[in-house]
Symmetry: C2
Subunit: 149 residues, 2 copies
């Protein structure tokens, strides 16, 4: 029998977080952290609401997961995020030594691949899971924002 | 008359923060943010106490300064930090569009220069201010830590 808790299942949860961000007028990026098929952190981008460039979904998810685990290293954890992490978030993931990162949409301008930010050598990366849905939400956000201004 | 509020003056304040971190058993890195010769944020590394890899001195200083200013961009601000920022912190500084970054000691292994993390094109960088004092404090920390284990 197929495990229902696959990368697509969890990315859909991250997308739900991105939609919450969208509804708040934030750039719609959502993240979750999973260990043993259990979600231990949920977050979405809050940079506008908090007036804080560090309030990316991933940063909050890392802090929250570490708080749940009672330790700062995210061994055996997977981060699901709807947009490719930036330099800052990839740098935080590096320090966390997280086991796996799964992202949906590419950020070809400011994603960690273009910026050549190093993740931890232990970290496995998977990309493109629900990419179309995540990209679509981001595009819709920027179109609506443009029309409002 | 010489302005007493020069880079050395403010780096000494950042070093005081690093010493507070030292006394707490944290890797001794301190940071402050200054605008118009006024300190608007003070912080030191709290990764151990908070169990949080994102709790670097710079990250807290950025959040705190933005909170003080009521806006997320750190225009006309200078960050003084006793150790060269890492990928994560340089990535956060990139987003903040901070005007100037001054650091004391080089981090030749994991500093943003070695890691090729991009700061914002607007950001001016000054290095080596009170470098000997900041390096000495870090060395003393790691020697004491080794002797305790």
């Amino acid at each position: 029998m197929q495990n229902p808790f696959d990368d697509t299942y969890f990315m859909r949860k991250a997308l739900q977080e991105a939609e919450i961000a969208f509804d708040k007028g934030e750039i719609p990026v959502g993240a979750i952290v999973v260990i043993d098929d259990k979600i231990i952190a949920r977050s979405h981008n809050l940079t506008e609401l908090l007036n804080d460039v560090t309030a990316h979904a991933e940063m909050q998810a890392i802090t929250s997961a570490a708080n749940y685990l009672g330790g700062k290293y995210l061994q055996n954890c997977t981060l699901y995020v709807t947009l490719e992490p930036c330099q800052m978030c990839a740098g935080a993931l590096y320090w966390s030594q997280i086991t796996k990162v799964v992202y949906a949409a590419r950020d070809e301008q400011r994603g960690f691949i273009k910026m050549r930010t190093q993740l931890h050598p232990k970290t496995k990366v998977v990309s493109g899971v629900l990419e179309a849905e995540a990209s679509e939400l981001l595009k819709r956000f920027f179109i609506e924002k443009r029309n409002l201004n």
